[in-house]
Assembly symmetry: C2
Homo-oligomer: 324 residues x 2
């Protein structure tokens, strides 16, 4: 087995190869730009780790890992247009640095480039990877659509919210790991189980994101703490609080989530108090723990050596205790 | 062999099957909408015809034909956003009927759905189709980017223009036909030759489009005659006219193509006169004829019966003598 740093280094080395000069420049420069903005590279690392765990030379997973990362960045470019976001990882978004049309077209090119990366595999593996990828990519689109739909709905339920984050975020984590398993040509059972592991961990990861957005340490959290509250985003914290609060308080909270203010410091503090007093903050932490534990339970079903299971467990735990 | 109408009917029957109710509605309704706006269905018909010609049951080509049409409509949805076009086939464009975000996301879903349609084939055929499709789709994006780039350049050359229409339009016609050949499992030589036939016919088809836009019969031409002139579009007609005219007249023509007017009737007439007097209209007709003849020459290299070659020739000729 190799270390996370080894996976990341191999991945970054591979990344440098695909972002060479291609024409037309206005199409490919934004691709190079977004792919080099950084990030945790969590998904491709998971693909390589999974290939390694199931007995393949992990480098065999590099093209699939790259496809996952290129797709993830495609979705960021198009989502940033839809969300009208000026910044991504502290830098200008593609549509802000260039324009919306460039963001649309360069994003389209990235989606196609992701599929092309599977061409490095034999036909059987190619089809397995591309099928999983298409299913996952379509679910990510559906998740994004639910997210957009939820903005203008005030009757979003907790199960609906969980389905949305599952589609928008978690299935790609599951697919990233399953791709490693496919490349390693392990049993279908192992493939499906590692997918479930990744999917459950992905849900926990997104709930953790929701939690950190409100309760993260401003010193270490990369984004503005309280960003979701400022944008009136109906996160798990918010929906759980509404469910727990009495009529009067939930109306107050809904009221707070219906305004856009210039100075948000009071709003953020009041909302966070509601999240704590209602028991929603605690319920969110419990949910994170439950999904993580469910993911760890899936590990028992994998036919791999115990030390490899511990490695996955350690990595999962480190994700759930992160502050970034 | 079957008739064009049979191919079209089979295709439309298949189309009804894929546009069923899927959730979320806001993602899939625009897909159903754009796919049912009509159109000549030229590309999918060519896929079916090609499968038929190379000895397959043409219905085996239906999924590939559908992929080509879904991709073509994906590109229309995204291009219409980029061109800020309110109408498509006389109806509201997707981003106009819904909004830009819906156009972006539904378009993304269509691109993925196109790939999924190849899953109906065995792994070898699947990989061959998906590889050709990715290469072609990326070229279509590149063609669209060149088209956008040319809007703000005044030094576009004829070879550059021809490369742009080849990428934006012609390669998909070639790929549509090659897909039929792949499905029919004919020789690689036949596959490559039918691709060249389609590509050359596609270039002729686009030049014909340029020509009809200026000189089409307003009674039968679907779009507004002179649309390209109103939008100052640098078509083959325009670039050839600039090349042929003397300094004084070419400056005049460039002048006319630098303004946006409310009433365009005088401008259209003057520009058309330049197209005729310079010899550009004639040169365009010659180029259409040359590309068509080059396409027909490729037919001789195909190892298929002569009556099938005549069929392709008849179809090609009918495209080049169209008024719509």
């Amino acid at each position: 087995m190799h270390s996370i740093d080894q996976y990341r280094d191999s991945f970054l080395e591979e990344l440098n190869k695909i972002t060479v000069d291609k024409e037309p420049k206005n199409l490919y420069e934004p691709v190079t730009y977004i792919l080099n903005l950084g990030g945790k590279r969590l998904r491709p690392i998971l693909t390589l780790m999974s290939a390694d765990i199931f007995g393949a030379d992990y480098k065999k997973g590099l093209s699939a890992a790259m496809a996952v990362e290129v797709f993830h960045n495609f979705s960021l470019v198009h989502d940033d247009i839809m969300d009208d976001a000026p910044l991504r990882r502290g830098q200008q978004t593609v549509h802000e640095k260039w324009d919306i049309n460039t963001g649309i077209l360069s994003g389209d090119a990235m989606l196609i480039m992701a599929y092309q990366l599977f061409e490095n595999y034999n036909p059987i593996t190619f089809q397995a990877l591309a099928k999983l990828f298409s299913k996952t990519a379509l679910e990510v689109c559906e998740g994004q659509q639910y997210d957009v739909d939820f903005e203008t709905r005030d009757d979003v339920t907790i199960p609906e919210y969980l389905k949305m984050i599952e589609y928008k975020t978690a299935v790609l984590v599951g697919a990233a790991m399953k791709m490693g398993a496919i490349v390693a040509e392990t049993s279908e059972e192992n493939q499906n189980n590692i997918y479930q592991f990744g999917r459950l961990l992905g849900i926990a990861f997104q709930l953790q994101d929701d939690y950190l957005d409100a309760f993260g340490d401003p010193e270490t959290f990369g984004k503005q703490v309280g960003g979701d509250i400022i944008e009136n985003k109906k996160t798990y914290l918010y929906l759980k609080a509404l469910a727990f609060l009495d009529k009067k308080d939930s109306i107050q909270l809904e009221q707070l989530f219906s305004v856009q203010l210039d100075d948000n410091s009071d709003k953020i503090e009041t909302v966070k108090q509601y999240f704590i007093s209602s028991g929603s903050a605690k319920a969110t932490q419990d949910a994170i723990k439950e999904y993580t534990e469910e993911a760890f339970k899936v590990l028992d079903t994998l036919s791999i050596a115990d030390d490899k299971k511990s490695l996955l467990k350690t990595f999962g735990t480190s994700l759930m205790t992160r502050s970034v």
